[in-house]
């Protein structure tokens, strides 16, 4: 198990390989469809962004509201491909990591290679477990978007899997392939 602490630098990113399990500690920014649209609009219009993209990690999540005494509710990953249209522009401006679940498009993977960025997977459908691992949560922008607002989160030892590394290796291709080879050898499928 590899431990990562933010800021998530190029050096840390380049050492990770698709399939690695990591424990992530530090700061994350949440953003989904609507927040991505606003971030990219701001970039196009030359306006400042609500947080510094350099070596930042964005988590694709729209949490449930916190119960009294909790910092956040359930907070698992949402499907990442919906952010594909926006991700290359953010990667080109320093975004180092993305956390979500599901496939990414070719242009995103090219932008990741070009900029030495990593795509992590969190386990979809385990929002209760993940919510419980979040230490602080604070809305920093676009509050009107509700669950889709940008939040700054601090997490401690959040378990993630490297899905696509800075070389473009992709666990969604290699994982099933390796399993099928194993299955072929062991149960003659």
């Amino acid at each position: 198990m590899i431990e990562i602490k933010t800021p998530f630098t190029v050096q840390q990113a380049d050492q990770l390989h698709a399939g690695d399990s990591v424990l992530f500690t530090g700061t994350l920014y949440t953003a989904r469809d609507a927040a991505h649209a606003r971030l990219c609009q701001a970039l196009e219009e030359g306006r400042p962004l609500p947080f510094d993209l350099t070596d930042a990690v964005i988590y694709y999540v729209g949490p449930t509201p916190p119960r009294p005494g909790r910092v956040i509710g359930s907070a698992g990953p949402t499907t990442s491909y919906r952010m594909d249209a926006y991700s290359p522009a953010l990667l080109d401006r320093g975004l180092r990591g993305m956390i979500g679940k599901g496939l990414r498009g070719r242009e995103v993977i090219e932008a990741m290679r070009r900029n030495h960025a990593v795509y992590f997977g969190a386990v979809g459908g385990t929002g209760a477990l993940i919510g419980r691992a979040i230490r602080t949560a604070e809305v920093i922008a676009y509050e009107d978007l509700g669950t889709e607002a940008i939040r700054r989160l601090t997490v401690e030892k959040l378990p993630l899997t490297v899905v696509i590394d800075t070389q473009g290796n992709n666990l969604y291709e290699t994982g099933p392939q390796q399993y099928l080879e194993f299955a072929g050898q062991h149960f003659n499928q």
């Binding site: 119960r67 909790r70 499907t79 386990v123 385990t126 209760a128 669950t147």
Partner: protein, 279 residues
């Protein structure tokens, strides 16, 4: 004639929304457990363990099973001898509003598909009412996450495409979805009817308890074959590889036109939520 008040409907829907989002039904949990026992790929086994841990944490009542607490799909089987004292759809929406508020569930509904402003209270419900005989009112709330819903597909096949054509379409849809719908998935398949009815069949197929098959052995056999073929794709939990790509395939059929072979595939994630009550 049995009288039911709008308030009774609202109270039931409110409670069912909360129950469904915190407590996964035993049939789904049991199936996940037995799939984990059979799974031989280490990463897959570990993820299935995470999923079972998540179910236990959610049941404590502080965090819903998933942050996508879904659109509230509400199915009502209404006996013809029941009279409801007020607007049924409004009573259901009020139950959803209260349930999502009081259960700290996420408001995920936008009022207009292009202008996309959140309604703020997760209404309206997606309500399906079916008239039946008798004097009972059976309410099922099945919150549906859209990571999986977005991976569904519908096709009007030709009758000559036959049994193999239906199977091919289901397999293609599951394969294309890959890791996106949070596998292991439950695959609801509608076959027959018309363009609209086949989609509803697929959605209703997802309400069937896991472990139960189509009553007709012809279709039950196809469910088993499809499950086996899907689990030979290697996608595995979360798409990281493994045997457990699907927990079950559930087919619902209906008569159709002489020219037609409609097929719809509605995918659900492993958080296959539903809660039911009879009034």
């Amino acid at each position: 004639m049995k009288e039911l008040s709008a308030a009774q409907i609202t109270a039931a829907v409110r409670e069912l929304c909360i129950e469904a989002n915190y407590h996964l039904p035993a049939d789904v949990t049991d199936c996940l457990r037995s799939c984990r026992a059979k799974e031989q790929w280490p990463v897959a086994k570990e993820i299935l363990g995470n999923i079972l841990d998540n179910i236990a944490v959610a049941a404590e009542g502080d965090y819903p099973l998933c942050q996508d607490t879904g659109l509230a799909c509400v199915f009502i089987r209404l006996g013809q001898e029941v009279h409801i004292s007020d607007d049924l759809a409004a009573a259901v929406d009020e139950g959803v509003r209260q349930g999502y508020r009081d259960g700290y569930l996420r408001a995920s509904a936008v009022a207009d598909p292009l202008r996309r402003v959140n309604t703020g209270d997760n209404t309206p419900a997606l309500l399906t009412v079916e008239l039946t005989s008798g004097d009972q009112c059976e309410i099922t709330v099945a919150p549906k996450g859209f990571g999986s819903e977005n991976m569904g597909a519908l096709k009007m096949l030709r009758p000559s495409d036959g049994r193999e054509g239906v199977k091919r379409f289901v397999l293609e849809t599951v394969k294309a979805a890959g890791p996106n719908p949070c596998p292991p998935i439950v695959v609801g398949v509608g076959v027959g009817g018309s363009f609209d009815k086949v989609a509803l069949c697929a959605k209703k197929a997802l309400l069937r308890p896991l472990g139960q098959h189509h009553p007709d052995p012809f279709w039950a056999q196809m469910e088993e074959e499809l499950l086996e073929e899907i689990n030979a794709l290697g996608i595995g939990p979360q798409g990281f590889g493994g045997r457990t790509t699907a927990l079950a395939v559930s087919i619902k059929t209906m008569p159709t036109h002489i020219t037609a072979l409609p097929v719809a595939v509605n995918i659900n994630c492993h958080v296959s939520r539903h809660a039911r009550r009879v009034l």
